[in-house]
Symmetry: C2
Subunit: 467 residues, 2 copies
């Protein structure tokens, strides 16, 4: 790939499109800083210019210019990504969607909402809850991440186990293609058998096929009641095994989160919080049941307890106040931050069929023993989606850089053997790119590269990601 650098003429053209105050150059080093990284490890890449367009029309003009002039463009939401997707590794333009931050409409008659991509996920969730509506996808970063980024990475979150991931809530999108053309991908309907599914092709494409400028989501009625419980297990593999058993018993919890003992201990320290734990408890499940009828939830909880009796569990903590529920969720949402604040780390976003979780977990520990790395595991066990945080600790730089990737390959090969894959909700982006051919064969890669070329013939949009 041969790209052109940003010339003064290019800067002038961009300034003409978005206005002086929405163009950032490296001279403004401090303002520029946050556009040089996302939440992936400690990676830093400085773009040549950051542009903050106001709308699809401006984005279209930027893309036309960059397309004509072979200038790479890296789209960026809130920069909370965990695979390096928003990093300007080929320099060029960072195109930030932060000014496209309006909730355009909440259509209560149709249970739909139209939003711009720069709306913060939690802001949107709270806006629809006010109308008694529910937008379930809730990545841990929901307090800061953008809806557009959630779509680009096919984000999930704890409630995906009952409600599905971000992709399951998008009906239609307006996108600007790398050529500058603006189009919608589908229609504002719950069912669509009219041509190929461009909407789902765009979802999860990590900003490589187009820039999302508007999204139509479906909403559902908000469930008014929930129960939250924290279940300690003496054996971590039993915690994983219990997950499948609860589903087999016919119960679909609204969350089913797995946390190793270390994950909880590190997070308690990080948050200065206390969770009572017996010395012999290896792991916990955070289980949430939701619905509209509290009596029914208590009945379901009874059935969950019956399943749990088959396992070696400690004392179950059932949250008895909203405050306690919030605390338990705060604990879970902060595991990532806590682990990462402790050490240099790499996070793997493995996913397998849910009953294979115990096999995966055992495999990770066994591979870790052979490669001499420590891992802290947690994640969305109900979906079979295990986040593996590999902490550097006292591993040498040499081993970290050269030996560890071989261990990661073994983990990913195990995932694929188990019917799973290498990313459940974080995307491939930059950091998993080197492992992509463990998950995808040559035929799949050829088709994907062909799609990329069709949408982006000059390869200017988010180059160097995924493939």
């Amino acid at each position: 790939m041969k790209f052109n650098p940003i010339t003064p003429e290019a800067v002038a053209a961009f300034t003409n499109i978005v206005g002086q105050e929405h163009v950032l150059l490296p001279a403004a080093a401090e303002d520029m800083l946050r556009y040089t990284h996302d939440e992936t490890e400690d990676l830093r890449y400085e773009p040549e210019v950051v542009l903050k367009p106001a709308n699809a029309a401006e984005i279209s003009r930027i893309m036309q210019y960059c397309h004509e002039n072979y200038i790479p463009v890296t789209p960026r939401g809130a920069g909370t990504g965990l695979s390096g997707g928003a990093l300007a590794i080929h320099k060029g333009v960072i195109l930030s969607t932060e000014r496209l931050n309006k909730i355009v409409a909440i259509d209560e008659r149709n249970l739909q909402a139209t939003v711009e991509p720069g709306v913060i996920t939690q802001v949107f969730q709270e806006a629809v809850i006010e109308r008694g509506l529910f937008y379930p996808p809730d990545p841990s970063s929901r307090g800061s991440c953008f809806l557009g980024g959630n779509l680009s990475e096919s984000s999930g979150g704890p409630r995906a186990v009952k409600y599905g991931v971000t992709k399951d809530y998008v009906l239609n999108m307006e996108v600007v293609l790398p050529t500058g053309e603006i189009t919608w991908t589908g229609a504002n309907v719950l069912k669509n058998a009219t041509g190929y599914n461009l909407t789902q092709l765009m979802v999860g494409s990590e900003g490589t096929l187009g820039i999302i400028t508007k999204i139509v989501f479906k909403l559902i009625p908000y469930p008014t009641q929930n129960l939250v419980m924290l279940v300690p297990f003496r054996k971590e593999e039993e915690a994983c095994a219990a997950v499948s058993q609860i589903f087999i018993a016919g119960i679909v919890p609204s969350a089913m989160e797995f946390m190793e003992r270390d994950a909880i201990e590190w997070t308690c320290r990080y948050l200065s919080m206390e969770v009572p734990m017996a010395a012999d408890e290896e792991a916990h499940l955070l289980i949430e049941l939701d619905g509209n009828d509290l009596d029914l939830l208590f009945k379901d909880a009874e059935r969950v307890y019956e399943v749990l009796e088959q396992f070696n569990v400690g004392e179950i903590l059932v949250a008895d106040s909203e405050k306690q529920k919030e605390d338990l969720w705060r604990l879970r949402r902060n595991v990532g931050h806590a682990v990462k604040s402790n050490s240099i780390y790499k996070e793997e976003d493995t996913v397998v069929p849910r009953a294979e979780l115990p096999v995966l977990l055992r495999g990770v520990k066994e591979i870790g023993a052979r490669y001499n790395f420590k891992s802290v595991c947690y994640g969305h066990a109900g979906d079979g989606n295990l986040h593996i945080n590999i902490v550097k600790g006292d591993m040498s730089d040499e081993d970290w850089n050269n030996k560890l990737p071989e261990g990661i390959k073994e983990i990913f090969r195990l995932c694929v053997e188990l019917g799973g894959t290498i990313s459940g909700e974080h995307g491939i982006g930059l950091v998993q790119r080197q492992y992509i051919n463990i998950a995808l064969n040559e035929v799949q890669l050829r088709l994907m590269r062909g799609i990329k070329e069709l949408f982006d013939p000059k390869g200017i949009l988010n180059p160097g990601k995924i493939f």
Copy 2:
């Protein structure tokens, strides 16, 4: 497109691949007959040969041969399609998946099943119900249609309103590409952020991108209880309006079906069945609530009655036995057959945001008045998916062939204006192809054609469909 005819050498090659008894030639006119049509109007196209391969390997060899020799291949499931997708309009090969009819595995630990594409939908549903599991998609033709066809057309059915359509249950597929290459499209997981979504690109592609040879579905626990009620409305637009109001009240029924008076009357005659109807009732809603707790369903039913009180409804019939529930569902499932047995017809599969249904229905009647056609409307009102059966009655052939398409265009333009599109679950296939540019713009069509060319560079797989 320039295709080659089937030569004796081609027949010999095919015979070598699938065996003599699985090759049908026009000489076997009677056996060939059912491969000349599907359930779309009275369309007939005779293929040059029908092949019934046993597995993906044989299909791969057939595709390699046809790819090399520019021979068109039309894949076919059970032939229950409603848009002409399985018709061999360019002659060549009909490739029937009828022998790929095994349920390979029902994985109760992971709530997944692996099936071949030729399994009948209802057979699969019943097999999983035996294990306490649920595969919700239930097109009206479920007693005869194939799962592979359901995926190819992105089929829905009444329960889509709560549970989603076929596409929402597929995790992974094995497909044979037009070039003969065999690949899986994804992984057997509930979440996948690893490369572009080839699975959802294949779903709904109407057999134009590849031939599905294996499918991994997700399953959910089977809801053990349900309530079924038939609600008569004095104004059909009020029936449509009530649909949205029930959702806004926070209830998600497992079915919410709309039937015009004519639809019920014609079907009662067709089935020799009786449904009590007052003279002034214009339309009915068939509403089903499901779950695991009958008390809760009765509570939900009370809330449905409260919503219905706002409307001018007649006496609500609540099914008080399994037999009566079955009868009501038999009534609904047979509307299509009943209407079609009455007259030459065309069926349109319109879909709009659900609150726009009353506007669509009024528009259809108004357009019908201007173009002098009668329509019988029914369908999945909860999804905004209205099937419009236009009956020929005493319309002249001249008007039917030349004037009516202009009226259909007006209906489709109205759908698109309302945020909807021209097919919700039947596909574009052959018969809606002429209307595709009402729903899709030039950019979308260019991308879709590009995808087609990428998968099928010689254009041999199901040529002449969609575009």
